[in-house]
Point group: C2
Chain length 348, copies 2
DNA sequence: CTGAAAGCGCTAACAT
DNA sequence: ATGTTAGCGCTTTCAG
């Protein structure tokens, strides 16, 4: 399948060859090249370094890894790198790892427990120094408890039951503020498009919804809460269902933006105006939120920073202390919930 | 930074331990567990397998790699995993690699030659079995010629000067067909938003534009060709420039969708109707093309399949022969160039 | 049919 | 100040 370009080739030379060329032992080579050269005269050091350069010597990372147990590689587990939420996380992780010579092993799971376990084991088999698990956990999710993590460091992104440090936003507060906003523009019956009930992100965001509904003294109608799977189609379907069932609502809060976009689709098809008839707010503020028409209001936070923070924590970089484990969020109000309509009666 | 869950731990046992437990030598263990057991009595084989299972034995991939020179890892180099074009490629690569136990080391370069060389060397240092280079090459781009590829297999995605096999679409034909379409709906002065002149994708797509212009006997006005950098902002800027310069045009073909979206932004701001006054066609057909309003016509091909094909070629999977090195493309006509409205007067 | 031994390339005691 | 030695865990001749 492949041609061989006429270029210099690896193995660019071994420590042994460098040693021979410099007239020293491999130990000395190792010492000089690894900074453990306190007691080696400058002259010798120079000879070693010159030999190494001339040979284009590069330490064999496999041998180093076998010997020292450090691979300078981290694993990143996401449901789907094709999802805007996750590729920004991936970029953040990469931007921390790459400059310090770490590799990032990327895996997709589609939230399938079987594949989750498979990739974790694959990554562990490859002896990653650490693991970033993004995408949030599932309630009573036991399949990862029996994994032989060994001494592997793990950082979670999003809520999780596993007992590892995690980087995240305050999901409940985030959704609460979305509801606050909808109420502030006069909406009283707010359809809530959640994820799967077992997903922890979904549970936490739902808690935020319920808390806000209660705080505003609105009636809690169970028919207003509809579970989905964070896809555009599911958002569209659930709104169609609600419409078909005759559920009345003047606002929608969706637990992710794809869902919200689907909701807008369905409302448009049904001839409802957004935001006049129904105001819509999404969550995550992926770039697409600014592309769709009407532009989508959303809970905004930086997935990129989430990724950076997770990697900084994992790799203990110089700025790891800056890595906020709870990242800030704000509400970005756009056309889908612009306040052309003032509240009919000020909510208490 | 990390806690230690009370779980079983790696090293789950070495071949030596398995050997001891089964009462055989490590040689025999290796033979049995690697299929080289032609001459080993079933009974012995069973003992070894049982011992291995009981110990939860997993071969140390680092040791195997050191010994056999195979890491079961491939490198993937993209400009930016945050770009819709590339994350679908990444997914395709992952979907081929993951099921057969291969890891994918992901790196971003932002098209910076310095970083490109750095990541290639990093990946080579980590002894990847193969490398997928996505994002297209740059003319006279020498910085990768001196890389010590050694025996590493390489597959390119998109046009490239390096002498490795590549998977791609016929870029010239793709853009030609976009121009054909614009001409078919009555457009005669077609603004062409290219990438950087040194980018090979841009050169090939430009060749397609010029060829089509000529084939239709349209005048070639150099002022209609404007270079950008495949971002939304650049598309927007170039169209603003064209408008400010008084360049007349009734069609736009952009060499990527982000650019096309930016072009629509600028046209909208300038009060030009799309597609009535100016019809716009993009290239790549990323998912966003269907989200924007008006929905964007685009040259459509599967980045996902591009990724799959590249990985299949690299890894020589069973279906590698199915991996078309030239992938098909089609034109998806959407609102931004729908022919409901003919231009009022055929220009020039 | 099976094992002993060499060694992939490196690091780190342990000398000297 | 430097070298010798002993592995890391595995595969693979080469000998029985």
């Amino acid at each position: 399948v492949n041609r061989e370009p006429g270029t210099p080739r690896r193995p660019a030379g071994t420590a042994k060859q460098v040693a021979a060329r410099a007239g020293v032992s491999v130990t000395t080579v190792s010492r000089v090249l690894n900074g453990r050269a306190d007691a080696i005269p400058p002259e010798t050091q120079r000879r070693v370094i010159r030999a190494a350069t001339e040979l284009g010597y590069r330490p064999n990372s496999l041998a180093v890894a076998l010997r020292r147990g450090v691979t300078e590689t981290v694993g990143l587990i996401v449901p789907d790198i094709g999802d805007a939420y996750f590729h920004q996380i991936a970029r953040g992780v990469g931007d921390v790892a790459q400059p310090i010579g770490y590799g990032v092993l990327l895996t997709n799971t589609d939230r399938d427990p079987v594949r989750e376990e498979a990739v974790v084991n694959m990554l562990l088999d490859k002896h990653v120094d650490g693991l970033i698990f993004a995408g949030g956990g599932v309630e009573g999710d036991t399949h990862l408890n029996d994994v032989a993590w060994g001494s592997t460091k793990v950082v979670m992104v999003g809520p999780h039951e596993l007992d590892f440090p995690s980087v995240r936003v305050d999901d409940a507060a985030a959704v609460s503020s979305a509801v606050d906003h909808l109420v502030a523009i006069g909406r009283r019956r707010i359809l809530c498009l959640t994820g799967q009930p077992s997903w922890l992100v979904s549970q936490e965001r739902l808690a935020g919804y319920l808390r806000a509904i209660q705080a505003h003294g609105l009636e809690h109608d169970a028919a207003l809460v509809m579970p989905g799977d964070f896809t555009r189609t599911s958002g569209q379907k659930r709104v169609q269902d609600a419409l078909a069932l005759g559920v009345r609502f003047d606002g929608v809060v969706a637990f992710n933006d794809y869902c919200a976009i689907g909701a807008v689709d369905a409302l448009f098809d049904a001839g409802r105006r957004v935001p006049e008839d129904v105001a819509v707010v999404g969550c995550d503020d992926i770039p697409e939120a600014q592309l769709v028409r009407p532009t989508l209001s959303s809970i905004s936070f930086s997935q990129y920073e989430l990724g950076r923070a997770a990697a900084a924590l994992l790799l203990d970089t110089a700025d790891a202390h800056l890595a906020l484990q709870t990242q800030p969020h704000t509400l970005s109000v756009r056309q889908s919930s612009s306040l052309s309509v003032q509240p009919r009666e000020p909510p208490d």
